[in-house]
C-alpha cells in the first residue's frame, strides 16, 4: 500500500512539474530549470554520499568537466552538440571510475578532502589546457527555448531519482548500504567493495556530467571558475542532507526547498541570499541532522569512524 501511495505522489509531482512551462512565465521556468538541475546533481551526490556513505566534497568536478569537455568538443573540434554531449558524459564517467579506484581507498576526512583537492586540481588543469577553453571560457551557439531546457533538466532529474529508486531496491543497493554500515564486514562476506564503490562514484559522475553538458548549452557561455565553483558541491550535499540522505525523494525535496529559500532571500539582497544559505547549513546540522525524510534505511554509517586514530605525539 505504502509503495502504491508513494508512486501516486511521485506521479502527481511529475505531472505538476510538466505543467510549469505552459502555465507560468519565463522567470518561473528558469528557476524551475535550476531546481531540476540541482535535483539531478543532488541525486547523483546521494548515490556516493548518501547510499554508500562516502561524503564527496568534489562532485562539482564532474559537472564542470562535463560542461567544459562538451563545450570544447563542439566549439573547438566542431562536433555536433549531441555527439559532444554523449562523448563528454561517457568521458567524465570513465574519469570518475578511474579516480574512484585510488580515492575510495581513503576513509572519512581523508576521502572528503581528497575529493575537494580533485575538484581544485581538475579546475587547475582545465584552466591550463588550451583545448578546453583555458581561463577565458567559451561561448556556445544559442539554441532552443527556455521551455526545452526545463524539460531536458527535468528528465535528468527524473533519471537521477529513477536510478536511486532502482538501486535502493536492488542487490547492488544493498551492497552499497552494507559498505556504508560496515565496510570490513562487507568485505568479509565476500562483497567486492572496490568495484561497488567505484561504480557508484562513476554513476554519480555520469549524472553530474549530464547536468553539466545541458547547463553549458543552456547558459551558452561557460568559464572554469563558474562551472567548478566549490559551492555547487556544497549545495548538492546540503540539499541531500536537508531532504534526507539515502532516500529517493530527499535530494529533490532539498533542491526545491533550497531553491525557493534562495529566491526569497535574493528578493531581499544578493548578499542576504548567501548569508541565508550559510545559516541554513548550520540549522540543518544542528536541528535536522537526519533530513526531512529521515533516514529510514540508514545503517550505522553515521557513527564516527577512525575516531582518535591520530593521537597527538611529541
Amino acid at each position: 500500500m505504502k509503495r502504491q501511495r508513494n508512486m501516486f505522489l511521485a506521479a502527481c509531482v511529475l505531472l505538476l512539474a510538466l505543467c510549469i512551462p505552459p502555465l507560468t512565465n519565463d522567470y518561473i521556468v528558469q528557476v524551475g530549470t535550476e531546481m531540476a538541475m540541482y535535483a539531478a546533481l543532488a541525486g547523483g551526490w546521494n548515490l556516493i554520499g548518501g547510499l554508500t556513505g562516502y561524503p564527496s566534497f568534489g562532485n562539482v568536478a564532474f559537472f564542470g568537466l562535463g560542461a567544459m569537455l562538451a563545450g570544447a568538443l563542439s566549439v573547438n573540434a566542431h562536433w555536433p552538440y549531441w555527439l559532444a554531449a554523449i562523448a563528454s558524459v561517457l568521458g567524465t564517467g570513465v574519469f570518475a571510475l578511474l579516480l574512484g579506484l585510488p580515492l575510495l581507498r581513503l576513509k572519512g576526512h581523508y576521502f572528503s578532502i581528497a575529493t575537494l583537492a580533485l575538484a581544485q586540481a581538475t579546475l587547475a588543469v582545465v584552466t591550463n589546457t588550451k583545448f578546453l577553453g583555458g581561463g577565458m571560457g567559451m561561448s556556445l551557439p544559442i539554441v532552443g527555448s527556455p521551455g526545452i531546457f526545463y524539460y531536458v533538466m527535468l528528465s535528468i532529474a527524473v533519471l537521477s531519482a529513477l536510478i536511486t529508486y532502482l538501486l535502493i531496491h536492488s542487490e547492488y543497493g544493498n551492497t552499497l548500504l552494507a559498505i556504508k554500515s560496515d565496510e570490513v564486514a562487507a568485505q568479509a562476506v565476500g562483497i567486492n567493495t572496490v568495484l561497488a564503490k567505484s561504480s557508484a562514484f562513476a554513476l554519480s559522475g555520469l549524472l553530474g556530467a549530464m547536468a553539466g553538458v545541458v547547463y553549458a548549452i543552456w547558459q551558452s557561455y561557460i568559464d572554469p571558475p563558474t562551472v567548478f565553483e566549490p559551492s555547487i558541491t556544497v549545495l548538492m550535499l546540503v540539499m541531500t542532507m536537508m531532504g534526507g540522505a539515502g532516500t529517493v525523494a530527499g535530494p529533490i525535496l532539498g533542491a526545491v526547498l533550497i531553491g525557493i529559500l534562495t529566491q526569497l532571500a535574493m528578493a531581499v539582497s544578493q548578499n542576504a541570499s548567501s548569508l541565508v544559505l550559510g545559516l541554513g547549513i548550520i540549522a540543518v546540522v544542528l536541528f535536522l541532522p537526519k533530513g526531512i525524510m529521515g533516514s529510514r534505511r540508514s545503517g550505522k554509517g553515521g557513527k564516527r569512524r577512525g575516531k582518535n586514530t591520530f593521537p597527538l605525539r611529541g
Binding site: 581513503l106 580533485l118 541532522p289 593521537p311 597527538l312
Partner: protein, 287 residues
C-alpha cells in the same frame, strides 16, 4: 645560481606563514578529529581585526598579535563550547558541514561590514627587506618564520609539560579513558579550539601583513593549511614547520619553472598523491 638561492629563501620564508596556519589546523585535527573548514576565514577575520586595531587604537600589527590572539582565544572557546561540541560526537561529516556553514556566514558578514574589495595593512616595514649575503629577506615573512619556530617550541612545551596540555593530549588518545580520569571533555575540546583559533589568528596577522586580502581569501588558506598538515603529519608538533617549509619551497620553485598559474596544480596534485600513498603524512607512520 643567485636567482635560485633567492627563490629558495622566498620559499622557506613563505613556509613560515603556512606553518603557523597549519599549527592551528593540525592541533584541532589531531586532538578532536575536527577539520575546520572556516579556518582560513578565521585568519582573514584576524587580518581585518588587525586593520581595525591599527586604525582605531594606532597599535602596530606586530605588537597587536597578543591582543588578537586573546580575542580569538575567547571567541574560539565559545564557538566550540556552544556550537561545535553539539555535533562533534555524532558524525564527522556533520562537523565538516557545520564549519562550512560557519565559513559561509563569516565570509558574507565580512562582505557586509568591510565590502568585497581587497585591503592591505599599511605599515612602514610591510614591503621592506633585510639584505644579507646579497639576498633579500622580506621583514614580515622573516619574523613569521621566527614566530613559527618559537610557537612550535612553546606549543610542544605546553602540551608536554603543563597540566592543561596533558589534559589535551590525554583526550586526543581517547575520550572515554580521559573522561574516567575526571577530565571534562567539553572544556578540554573548547580549550583546544580556543588555542587553535588564537594560533590561526596569529597566522592571519602575518598573512594580512604580507598579502592583500578580501573576505573571499579564506578558502585557499584553509586548503594550504590542509596540505601542510598532511605533508607534516596530523597531530605532530614539528609537522607544521616541516610541511610549511616543503610546500613553501615547492610552490616557489614550481612557479618559477612552470609559471605562477601552475601553483595550484602542484599543490593539489601533491595533496592527492600524498593522500593516496601516505595518508598519515610524510613524517607520520606509514599508511
Amino acid at each position: 645560481m643567485h636567482l635560485w638561492l633567492q627563490v629558495l629563501v622566498n620559499g622557506i620564508l613563505q613556509g613560515g606563514i603556512l606553518g603557523i596556519s597549519a599549527l592551528a589546523f593540525s592541533l584541532q585535527w589531531g586532538v578532536m578529529n575536527l577539520i575546520n573548514l572556516a579556518h582560513g576565514t578565521f585568519q582573514v577575520l584576524a587580518a581585518y581585526l588587525t586593520v581595525l586595531i591599527l586604525q582605531h587604537l594606532g597599535l602596530d600589527p606586530l605588537l597587536a598579535v597578543p591582543l588578537v590572539f586573546i580575542i580569538f582565544f575567547l571567541g574560539g572557546y565559545l564557538v566550540q563550547f556552544f556550537l561545535i561540541n553539539r555535533v562533534i560526537s555524532t558524525n564527522l561529516f556533520m562537523t565538516l558541514l557545520l564549519t562550512y556553514g560557519m565559513d559561509f556566514v563569516l565570509a558574507n558578514l565580512m562582505i557586509l561590514f568591510f565590502t568585497a574589495d581587497y585591503k592591505s595593512i599599511n605599515t612602514p616595514y610591510a614591503n621592506s627587506s633585510w639584505q644579507l649575503f646579497g639576498l633579500q629577506f622580506p621583514i614580515v615573512r622573516s619574523v613569521a618564520l621566527l614566530f613559527l619556530i618559537v610557537l612550535s617550541v612553546l606549543l610542544w612545551l605546553f602540551l608536554e609539560y603543563s597540566r592543561p596540555g596533558r589534559a589535551i593530549r590525554a583526550t586526543s588518545m581517547g575520550t572515554e579513558p580521559a573522561r574516567l580520569m575526571g577530565l571534562k571533555i567539553p572544556h578540554v575540546y573548547a580549550l583546544t579550539f580556543a588555542l587553535s583559533s588564537g594560533l590561526a589568528a596569529t597566522g592571519g596577522v602575518f598573512f594580512g601583513l604580507s598579502n592583500a586580502f578580501s573576505p573571499a581569501s579564506g578558502g585557499p588558506l584553509t586548503v594550504g593549511a590542509f596540505v601542510v598538515t598532511i605533508l607534516g603529519g596530523v597531530g605532530t608538533s614539528w609537522g607544521p614547520l616541516v610541511g610549511g617549509l616543503i610546500l613553501g619551497v615547492l610552490d616557489a620553485v614550481g612557479s618559477v619553472i612552470f609559471g605562477p598559474t601552475y601553483v595550484n596544480v602542484i599543490t593539489f596534485g601533491l595533496l592527492l598523491v600524498i593522500l593516496v600513498l601516505r595518508p598519515n603524512g610524510v613524517l607520520g607512520r606509514a599508511g
